[in-house]
Subunit: 517 residues, 2 copies
């Protein structure tokens, strides 16, 4: 961890150090040290840390495992929120805010649940110089914070469904390998908590929400995900079943849980006594769900799309979709070029495209190219003397480097089309790379070999918990044990007589296996 911090702080400082002084020439030279020192294919972990810092998404913080989300990251979070929040409001889910603090008695009420979180809970024991009478926990998630009040608010069937959501921070004081966005001690998320009269309604909502999570990944972040159900071993502590969208990072050969939608069944309603009188005036416990996605989404996006030039942003979540850069030459009409840049930005902004120009006179065009490539802006527009003369602009795609000359009069239409293409292409390329990593296996030998090749393994499985425990034990090594990622909803055919790859017992389903984050 400490090593991580040192490594990633250096490039950032280098990038920043020349911001102030020096003549133009000198400064430009200083600033050309913009490139990444690590390559994605060679040294993925270092590359990741360098990208998130150098793109100005993240600043490392002086408390280990905590990170500063700079505006370049926060704007991505906000654009996902701008999609998700209205969508859940359409489902009649309402926002609320429950306290950050939990009293120990409530936290510990659901044993299985609390065991999943207990080692990571941060405790407040003092205010000022005064010891508190009772230590108070900081929420790692809000099931136990909320459900005593569900019990109070829900009396009759007319109080159902109760559908709440909150946007907040949660704290899990993990000690293993903190990574910006992916595993941090404090993170931002939304957590939905709902209660229904029937299991059918709860089941339906689990999938409605999971579909929204799929759309966040595929439509906004341009990342292919697999919808499925978690194994008993991997499901949410205290819940009935867990569904998730699973992404995959080809470079590390690791699956990553993208977001989860849990059916809690009646387990919490029994513990917290959340009861209602039904139409027949009989008492019944409610059926509950909880579901969440977090700032981890942003980390998955960096890992999937980033390259050796830095971040690559899908247009839909980029706070700047188009950066317009003047390319003046000595004898050229500099003012004309600058004016054309401003005019282009105005035209694009009026058409609803998030465009900005970089007219700074102390950086060379080349430096600016690198800078905005590092930050992942989807499309660069260059305007030089030739473009000016020809009443055109040159567009350069961040995703594939393609250069396209566009007539100025067509710029809005063409650039909208290009942004759409980039969004689509990112998803297609990511899907192709992910699909190349998927390997169907039938035997333990094939499993071990595929795992060594960093595959996302689709295998017939007997669905027995002790078998997964056994697979974990047998694959435990330096790079971590293999486990189930999910059992996909889209099941390939499972011919009669197919055996579990691990136990040799009759297979009950196909499951994805692999190492994971």
């Amino acid at each position: 961890m400490a090593g991580n911090q040192v490594k990633t702080k250096n490039p950032s400082q280098k990038q920043k150090s020349g911001g102030g002084g020096g003549g133009k020439k000198k400064e430009v030279k200083k600033e050309t040290g913009l490139g990444l020192t690590n390559k994605k294919a060679e040294n993925f972990g270092e590359w990741y840390s360098e990208v998130v810092v150098n793109s100005e998404m993240i600043e490392y913080y002086d408390i280990s495992g905590c990170y500063i989300l700079r505006p370049w990251a926060m704007s991505i979070w906000e654009s996902m929120q701008a999609f998700f929040d209205p969508e859940i409001k359409k489902l009649k889910i309402k926002n609320c805010y429950f306290p950050l603090f939990v009293s120990p008695g409530v936290l510990e009420k659901e044993k299985e649940h609390v065991e999943g979180f207990a080692p990571e809970v941060a405790w407040v024991t003092k205010s000022g110089k005064t010891d508190l009478d009772v230590p108070i926990a900081i929420r790692p998630t809000s099931e136990t914070v909320m459900y005593p009040y569900f019990s109070k608010w829900i009396r009759g069937h007319r109080d159902l469904p109760l559908k709440l959501n909150q946007w907040c921070n949660v704290v899990r004081w993990e000690f293993s390998n903190p990574t910006p966005f992916i595993r941090s001690r404090e993170f931002l998320w939304q957590e939905g908590h709902t209660a229904f009269a029937t299991k059918e309604e709860a089941d339906k909502e689990v999938l409605d929400i999971l579909e929204l999570y799929r759309r966040i990944y595929e439509e906004y972040l341009a990342i292919p995900v697999i919808k499925g159900k978690k194994s008993e071993l991997e499901k949410f502590a205290g819940g009935l079943y867990t569904t998730s969208v699973e992404a995959f990072i080809p470079n590390t050969g690791r699956g990553i849980q993208g977001a989860t939608s849990h059916c809690l069944g009646q387990n919490f309603s029994k513990m917290f006594d959340i009861e209602f009188e039904d139409e027949n005036r009989e008492k019944a416990k409610v059926w509950q769900n909880s579901w969440a996605y977090s700032t981890r989404t942003i980390g998955v996006m960096v890992m999937v799309h980033g390259d050796d030039k830095g971040l690559v942003l899908p247009p839909k979540v980029a706070s700047i979709q188009v950066i317009v850069i003047p390319v003046p030459y000595k004898d050229a009409d500099t003012q004309g070029i600058l004016d054309a840049c401003s005019a282009t930005v105005n035209t694009l902004v009026e058409a609803g495209i998030r465009a900005e120009s970089d007219l700074r006179d102390n950086y060379s065009p080349g430096w600016k190219y690198s800078h905005w490539e590092m930050k992942g802006v989807p499309l660069r527009i260059e305007i030089g003397p030739k473009d000016l003369a020809n009443q055109q602009v040159r567009a350069v795609r961040r995703d594939n480097g393609a250069k396209i000359d566009i007539k100025s009069v067509d710029s809005v239409e063409e650039i909208k089309k290009l942004l759409g293409n980039i969004q689509q292409n990112l998803l297609e390329v990511a899907k192709q790379k992910r699909d190349e990593c998927i390997q169907v296996i039938h035997t333990w030998d094939e499993f071990v070999q595929a795992l060594g090749q960093k595959k996302m393994i689709l295998a017939p499985w007997c669905d027995e918990e002790e078998v997964e425990v056994d697979v974990k034990a047998r694959t435990k090594g330096e790079t971590g044990a293999a486990k189930t990622l999910c059992s996909p909803f889209e099941q390939p055919e499972l011919p009669e007589g197919t055996k579990c790859f691990a136990s040799g017992k009759p297979a009950k389903k196909w499951s994805y296996w692999g190492r994971s984050y």
Copy 2:
């Protein structure tokens, strides 16, 4: 505090207890216990607690000083956010997120500042069962969290201005008299933190932001506020000067600081070494501002507009602006009435009005009137057999009880007009009541008398810190000492020779004085 909780939990439970069982008749009877047991004019504190609970804005939480913000409160917060966030984005302020936790060394760096907060800081000392090496503080505000990174990010004049904002929770573990919204141990706010090359720019922004705060209060919450400057004694700890919008609660005769916009000067930039190289390549410290408004706004709104029937919501922040209630009679065309209600809601919603109907068949119209009055919905539409026959609806205003018959064909136009009138009337009535409480005084005797009459006192003052200390000491009593609220930007004429009401020295300015929250 504990007493407060007991008092306010009861009415809520009473309201809820009949939600499930019972025949229709019985149920209605049970539920008529909706009214408040306390009156605003007689027992303000109890009235306030009852209103925030019974209107379903607040639920008391099992940790003292923490409150649950239910959807009815959260939606008000969201509507203010929907105004403020785009406004600050127009000013090129960007959202970010800094960690909840602060290390002690950083927290204590600015002595004067930390002294203002130290007794209220909550400390995390354990994770799971493990003691932390060093206790970690929870942010009471983020100056010391952010400014070490300002120091890192700001190098040259081109890095300025740096303008950040975050929407987050903060914790101040106060022990005195917690009150929902007004004084709670955790609350939600936005905090803006900006850095400029010159004092002029900082000064300007302080006022730009203050104007947005005025607009939140006057245009959204319909609460008149006074813009002004805080005294040296009352300014932000560690800052250069503080401006605020000040509201007043006539019932308690207390001023309340609505929101603050601070110029921090160069104090923090000296402590945290936030330096830049200016155009002449000389080192200079930045000028900084910080500014915030919090969920306290909602509490002020409840206190100012609420009445003995419950909450009164200004239409601009009401998540339901119009509630449509069917009023069937025995022999009437019930289905026709219900259909007319639904049609009315559809028409209004299509026109952008936030309308809902309450078609529940287990509550009487009278119960529903009380219920939605308690929740403060600005306009009630009743549709009964006579209305149906006359192709009209009956509108009833929450603010003044006025009843208006509206032709169904004109409903959108008329209701839009009515909502505008209600918004305006709430502000006017509040302003009139506030103005009646303002008293201009010149002498100590007048001051004491006005204070006894719960006035907001405008007095000529010598502007000396020790005089304010002295006034506080001399007025200290059961109901709290008087202090300056602000020195208003709109200064009445101060004739030559006017003396300070407290010290007899030459007066330098007019200031508002009073007791406050």
